[in-house]
């Protein structure tokens, strides 16, 4: 895509206007997933397996169906792989179907086996108790290393693809290996080689809004769905496939969203609500409880990792090798490949080798969580680098600068980097007052770098001008990070009209072309690029109208500060024609003026960050307090800096939870032990210091304004940076997350 319109001088971009959804959200007017109602609406509830692994011998729904308040009961038999006229569901659609409603086996504690729609939520929950399910309980496994052992129970025979080497356990379903150079030769050149093992536990995305939807599907195959999601086109496509209906006949509207972080990029309850609605011929609302969210929606993968790095006395890394085993629940999809590809990406390495495994266990199907796979790998790699620096007496930022990837460096995952901003983040970290501030006794400081790829994806945007010269922008990417504000700023920049004169709406699937999910840190990049192009398309039409009015060629007109003006002295002597004067009579000068843009932009630009963390460890209780935190990250160009800082701070806050307290705890019975926020400890405001931020701007050559996505990279460095700070404070290397007080205490006592 030609980017001959690159811009570096900005009037609106880079300012910090009020958020457009602020009033709605603080007054409770904003409509989230559970806020929609329909006449005659029923309430749905889902029956879930209490077993980690069990064959479903028989389901008897007759007693539930006999209740007068119950209007429909569905099981797997009501979904399309059982429907004769549309057989052959396969690939990821089949996996999603198997996850939203169990087939022959319940594969994890919390797996859906049946669902009810009744006249009240209470009646629906009561009816679940009358559904009789006969299970044959099977052996289970929830630990990634145990799932790879020869005697581990097989979760699904034949789930492995071409990539898995022969002789591996059937639970290993994907394998990735990449790198370059000769690692053994590299290790031989090193003055010090450290090899260590690291573990991380699964954590949940922890969005505050549970999944919720309102579904209507008639026997004519036409449906309406309101739901909280990161991407309503993927919901439309997936639900249509699972229900055996035509995609275009299902109209999906995205509600406001109370957090997603990657966990709302797939479907869980939406196909179930649609199936219930089709059977009952009434609208059905389904709202998950928090416990259901924990038990049956995507946590991230857990990981078992071995990392070996060799370093010379001057800090040069001579070789690096990592083996990363990730479990992603009872389905393929754990991002072991991405853990491997991202782990060493910040460094310029002559010899590097990385291996990733995707392993199935009897746990819920993992879902994406900000930079999926990258934080775990960074934890292992950056911990080993920190230990090498400690043992060789080297400064951790100097060592990272010495080995940092730059433009032209061959990345650990293969190609050479274009313009990137890692060095700039490291230099900013070194110059930051935080880095030179003295530490108190009992405190330690940690540094880590982090990398993420970022993404483009299918994108459609429409922009329509009103007669008064204001503009409405229709985007298809749910606003999970302030995108309505940043789209308005980018449109304002091109149109030359105030931010306040632009309203950005997240359009439904019936009113705009296809849009990929709000994921991969893609929205400000891709929807932003499309908004700029759509606005430019409208500006071309505005210039045409001015040219016609002035009777001069269109190429003699240019757009400046919201007005058409002659492009030079030879073009003629005309006063600037403001946008509102052109739009006022646009209906009579050629018709309504709109701008459109549809594309799959391919220039997202990779992103790097560096974090500095101070931690204090209470040697009596093992409790860690984060006393100071600074995030430094390359944003390319910050469109609305406050939101960018918010993304940086959010990544750090979630990373603090992941590092210190959050974990999925399974009992011997394979049941999740802590499926409520009381027992699953996410950080609250009082757990956090003020998180300082520094926005580095190394423009992305793939975006007209230089934008790089910022949503994901911010969660890559925290696990390692915090682990390094805690290890330096405690005087003992922490190799397992979370670093909860009992675990830190055990490490301090030398039995961890």
């Amino acid at each position: 895509m030609a980017l001959d319109d690159r811009k570096t001088d900005f009037k609106f971009v880079g300012t910090r206007p009020d958020r457009p959804d602020g009033l709605d959200k603080v007054t409770g007017r904003a409509k989230f997933g559970a806020d929609m109602y329909a006449p005659g609406m029923l309430h749905g509830a889902i029956l879930r397996s209490p077993h980690a692994h069990a064959r479903i011998v028989k389901i008897d729904t007759s007693k539930a169906e006999a209740l007068k308040d119950v209007k429909a009961v569905v099981t797997r038999a009501d979904f399309s792989d059982e429907v004769e006229f549309k057989p052959g569901l396969e690939g990821e659609f089949w996996n999603v179907l198997e996850n939203v409603m169990a087939g022959e086996k319940a594969l994890y504690d919390g797996h859906a086996v049946a669902a009810v729609a009744a006249t009240s939520a209470l009646a629906a929950r009561d009816a679940l108790k009358l559904i009789e399910v006969e299970y044959e309980v099977l052996p289970h496994v929830t630990d990634v290393d145990k799932a790879m052992e020869p005697d581990a129970p097989v979760i699904r025979e034949g789930a492995a693809d071409y990539s898995v080497p022969e002789g591996m356990h059937p639970n290993v379903v994907r394998y990735h290996e990449s790198g370059h150079g000769d690692v053994e030769a590299g290790f031989a050149e090193a003055d010090l080689v450290i090899e260590d093992h690291f573990d991380t536990e699964a954590t949940h995305q922890g969005y505050i809004e549970p999944h919720a939807c309102l579904a209507m599907l008639g026997n004519d195959g036409k449906g309406e769905l309101w739901c909280c999601t990161q991407g309503h086109w993927i919901v439309q496509k997936t639900c249509a496939a699972l229900l055996g209906i035509e995609t275009s006949q299902l109209r999906v509207t995205a509600s406001e969203i109370g957090g997603g972080f990657g966990g709302k990029t797939t479907v869980f309850i939406e196909p179930v609500a649609l199936a219930l609605s089709r059977k009952a011929n009434r609208p059905v609302k389904l709202v998950m409880s928090r416990s259901e969210v924990f038990r049956a929606t995507g946590p991230t993968a857990s990981a078992s990792m071995d990392v070996k790095i060799g370093m010379k006395k001057d800090g040069t890394i001579t070789a690096a090798q990592g083996v990363f085993r990730l479990q992603g629940g009872a389905f393929p999809g754990a991002p072991g490949d991405f853990t491997a590809m991202c782990a060493f990406a910040p460094y310029n390495l002559t010899n590097v080798r990385q291996v990733g495994y995707d392993v199935m266990t009897n746990r819920p199907k993992q879902a994406a969580y900000r930079a999926p796979g990258a934080p775990m790998g960074a934890f292992a790699v950056e911990s080993v680098i920190d230990e090498l620096c400690n043992q060789l007496g080297l400064d951790p930022i100097d060592v990272r600068l010495k080995n940092a990837a730059r433009e032209g460096t061959k990345a650990s995952y293969g190609p050479r980097y274009p313009r990137i901003g890692l060095v700039e983040t490291l230099e900013a970290a070194k110059a930051h007052p935080h880095y030179s501030a003295p530490l108190k006794p009992g405190q330690g400081r940690g540094i880590s770098c982090g990398f993420w790829f970022n993404h483009g994806g299918e994108t459609s945007v429409s922009l329509a001008l009103s007669e008064d010269g204001s503009a409405q922008v229709m985007v298809g990417t749910p606003d999970i990070g302030g995108s309505r504000a940043s789209m308005a700023l980018m449109a304002a920049e091109v149109l030359g009209i105030p931010y306040e004169n632009i309203r950005v709406t997240v359009a439904d699937t019936a009113t705009l072309g296809y849009n990929d999910v709000s994921h991969g840190s893609r929205v400000t990049y891709a929807s932003g690029l499309a908004t700029i192009k759509a606005a430019q398309n409208a500006v071309e039409k505005l210039c045409e109208r001015a040219a016609a009015k002035w009777g001069i060629p269109v190429d003699a007109v240019k757009w400046e500060n919201g007005c058409a003006v002659p492009s030079g002295p030879n073009a003629g002597d005309f006063d600037p024609l403001p946008i509102a004067e052109i739009t006022a009579d646009m209906g009579r000068t050629g018709g309504p003026i709109s701008g459109h843009f549809e594309a799959t932009p391919e220039g997202a630009g990779v992103s790097f960050g560096t974090h500095i963390v101070d931690a204090e460890v209470d040697r009596e209780t093992g409790k860690t307090t984060i006393t100071r935190y600074t995030v430094i990250q390359d944003a390319g160009k910050a469109i609305h800096p406050t939101y960018v800082e918010g993304q940086f701070q959010g990544g750090a806050a979630q990373g603090i939870g992941w590092a210190l307290n959050e974990e999925y705890i399974y009992g011997e019975d394979g049941r999740l032990q802590n499926a409520v926020f009381l027992d699953y400890r996410i950080p609250v405001a009082s757990d956090l210091p003020m998180i300082d931020t520094v926005i580095v701007e190394v423009p992305n050559p793939g975006h007209p304004f230089g934008v790089r996505g910022v949503g994901e990279t911010g969660i890559v460095p925290p696990l390692a940076a915090i682990a390094n700070a805690v290890s330096n404070a405690a005087g003992v290397r922490m190799r397992q997350l979370p670093m909860s007080p009992p675990r830190v205490l055990a490490a301090l006592k030398g039995d961890g």
């Binding site: 693809d161 071409y162 990539s163 080497p165 394998y175 990735h176 290996e177 990449s178 790198g179 972080f261 990657g262 966990g263 990029t265 991002p335 490949d337 991405f338 590809m341 080798r353 994406a368 969580y369 900000r370 930079a371 999926p372 995952y413 293969g414 190609p415 050479r416 980097y417 274009p418 790829f453 970022n454 993404h455 483009g456 994806g457 994921h519 991969g520 840190s521 893609r522 799959t600 391919e602 220039g603 997202a604 990779v606 793939g702 994901e712």
Partner: protein, 81 residues
């Protein structure tokens, strides 16, 4: 001819080669020719791959031109959260 660098996990599908050569002027042709020359690459390519051309990662596009002499890498298909 375009020199295509594969990730090392694919060597078992190309008779041990990590760099292969095919005739292609854009990303779609590249993937088609790779499968024609190395039928076992159909698995990974069907599963989804990205192509890096001189360091610029093309996540999924089949129409991106490959200039003469470019450095080309096949990568796992990018995903996000």
């Amino acid at each position: 001819m375009v020199e295509v660098h594969l990730w090392s996990g694919l060597r078992s599908l190309t008779g041990g080669r990590e760099v292969v050569e095919v005739e292609a002027s854009n990303t779609g042709e590249l993937l088609r020719e790779l499968v024609r020359a190395y039928p076992q690459l159909e698995g990974p390519i069907q599963a989804g791959v990205s192509v890096a051309i001189d360091g610029r990662i093309i996540a999924s596009g089949l129409t991106e031109p490959i200039p003469e002499g470019s450095e080309v890498y096949l990568m796992q298909r990018l995903r996000g959260g």
